[in-house]
């Protein structure tokens, strides 16, 4: 219990510091009274979008690791974020045409990218599940995820080249592809908040099944878990969380892999204790990385994914090494 209090105390303290840092860091001068409120509002929206995206990715990471019983899985490792990015790119490319043709008349234009991103993540996870069906080999999952990510990135690059014919569309697709939370508005915050609250609530509801699923499909099934349904809904909610995060922040790598590993030693492996802590830690991590992008480069926006990638890649290698040494899963 002491450990739980210490964890939550630390998380809330650090989150408060990161939010304050995010509000007071940037190119705009808060000393100018006429612009102060505007700057703070823009930075608050940016902070909320970043926090929500990080929380979504971290919760999605816990879900993916439980569903594949693989400690090295994460939304970016299994191709979900690449699939979501491709979905968002295709939505940008084809969406305007659909609206112009009246096919998507009932759809608000700003909903096209989130829907595309969620559909892309759902497609990627379903394809992965199909490829690795029946295999418990972590290497198999990693290789299949790598293959799918590469495929989606290649198609995405093609989509990007197609978009260059129109300057505005080209800029929009490029900006979405590079990712980041700069200039995010209330609509983005609403999207990521919806994805997070729905995904986290669903994950908490399924948590007892996910706990038992850590014993493998056969044992879970004989203990009463509906393995197929748990996995199917887990995939759907992972897609909602990954798609929501990518729609707002773009392809932010490694958050879903690193954050659950960092939190498990303190929160334990039981999902109802782990998930809320991981959500806060994911938000904290992304907001901190976003502040770093502003500190490192003030004139040009450094993509958020670059910072998370620079931190995440070496940590991923460490985890891979540790996992090979211990032969364990889920820390």
């Amino acid at each position: 219990m002491k450990r739980t209090y210490a964890l939550w105390g630390t998380l809330l303290l650090l989150s408060g510091a990161a939010v304050a840092g995010s509000l007071y860091t940037g190119a705009g001068d808060l000393g100018d009274e006429s612009l102060r409120a505007t700057f703070l509002r823009l930075r608050a929206l940016r902070t909320a979008a970043g926090f929500g995206a990080g929380a979504c990715l971290a919760v999605a990471g816990v879900l993916v690791q439980a569903l594949f019983r693989n400690p090295l899985a994460g939304p970016s490792i299994v191709g979900a974020t690449a699939g979501a990015t491709l979905g968002g790119q295709l939505a940008l490319l084809g969406g305007q045409g659909l609206i112009a043709a009246g096919v998507a008349a009932r759809l608000a234009p700003e909903m096209l990218v989130p829907i595309g991103a969620i559909a892309g993540a759902l497609f990627a996870l379903s394809a992965l599940l199909l490829i690795v069906r029946g295999s418990n080999d972590p290497t198999h999952v990693l290789l299949a995820g790598f293959l799918l990510s590469s495929l989606f990135l290649s198609i995405g690059a093609f989509a990007l080249s197609l978009a260059q014919d129109t300057w505005e569309l080209g800029r929009a697709v490029l900006s979405f592809t590079l990712g980041g939370v700069s200039g995010r508005g209330p609509g983005h915050v609403a999207i990521v908040a919806t994805a997070l609250s729905a995904g986290l609530a669903a994950a908490m509801l399924w948590a007892p099944s996910l706990d038992v699923l850590l014993s493998g499909d056969d044992e879970a099934s004989t203990l009463g878990v509906d393995v197929a349904t748990t996995r199917r809904w887990g995939i759907v909610w992972t897609a909602v969380l990954s798609g929501g995060a990518v729609a707002v922040a773009g392809n932010v790598a490694f958050v879903g892999l690193i954050v659950p590993h960092a939190i498990r030693p303190f929160a334990g492996v039981m999902h109802r204790r782990l998930l809320p802590a991981v959500a806060v830690a994911g938000g904290l991590f992304v907001v901190t990385c976003d502040v770093a992008t502003r500190l490192i480069s003030v004139k040009a926006n450094m993509p958020l994914g670059v910072i998370t990638g620079l931190i995440g890649a070496p940590l991923f290698l460490l985890l891979l090494r540790r996992s090979q040494l211990l032969g364990e899963s889920h820390g």
């Binding site: 509801l205 007892p208 038992v212 850590l214 014993s215 493998g216 044992e219 004989t222 009463g224 820390g331």
Partner: protein
Amino acid sequence: MADALTLRNLRVLRGSHVCVHDVSWTVEAGTVAAVLGPNGAGKSTLLRGIVGLLPAQGSAQVLGRDVATMSRRERARRVAWLPQESALRTAMPVRDVVAAGLFARRSALGGLTENDAGGVDEAMRAVDVASLSTRPFTQLSGGERRRVLLARALATGAELLLLDEPTAALDLAHALRFFDTIRELTRLGRTVVCVLHDLNDALRFSDLAIVLHHGRQVSSGRTRDALTDDVIRSAWGVSQSPDAAARFDLLESAR
């Protein structure tokens, strides 16, 4: 006495291949029954077929109810299965592992009730893992893990326990204690069906036995009747030694 398990012409399949052929066997409630046979005889496959992990034809009834007609949760409340080797590779605290046995009895939102917690404690005490309560599962020895999983099976409260080589990783004292525990369970009305390799253990601790060879039922009945010289010779290709096997008993102080 009522029948806890009734198999009628049960065939267990892996894909289109029939691995266990037409087994018919009845296990009375409150008994210990052994599933015996050489390696590859189909012992574990038979248990997997009964518990619904492999497709099966024919019928398997638990206390008069066909397993195939039970919902997943009902089956989990009536039949517990201990696998030969668990797939759990997580640093989950022992108490949480054992509490997973209650999954089918809990609502989706509910935590452990006082009654549930008592059941978990009792199951842990029964197999001597109460002192390991907060230890991560991954830090336990093979024998300790086995006992924790056995506690999980006990915590389910199921009337029928299907145990696949339950004593395989246990030291002598814990193996004897295990047999004491299952004997006690049968006195309380539960029925235990376990795959055993040691025929001496089967003769000493089980009431009933079935012998399988190449997926076919060679004999069944009271253990001493099922394990005749002819059966042992034909199934295992060995003969009984005229020397009595070494016999060990648990000290009173260790019970």
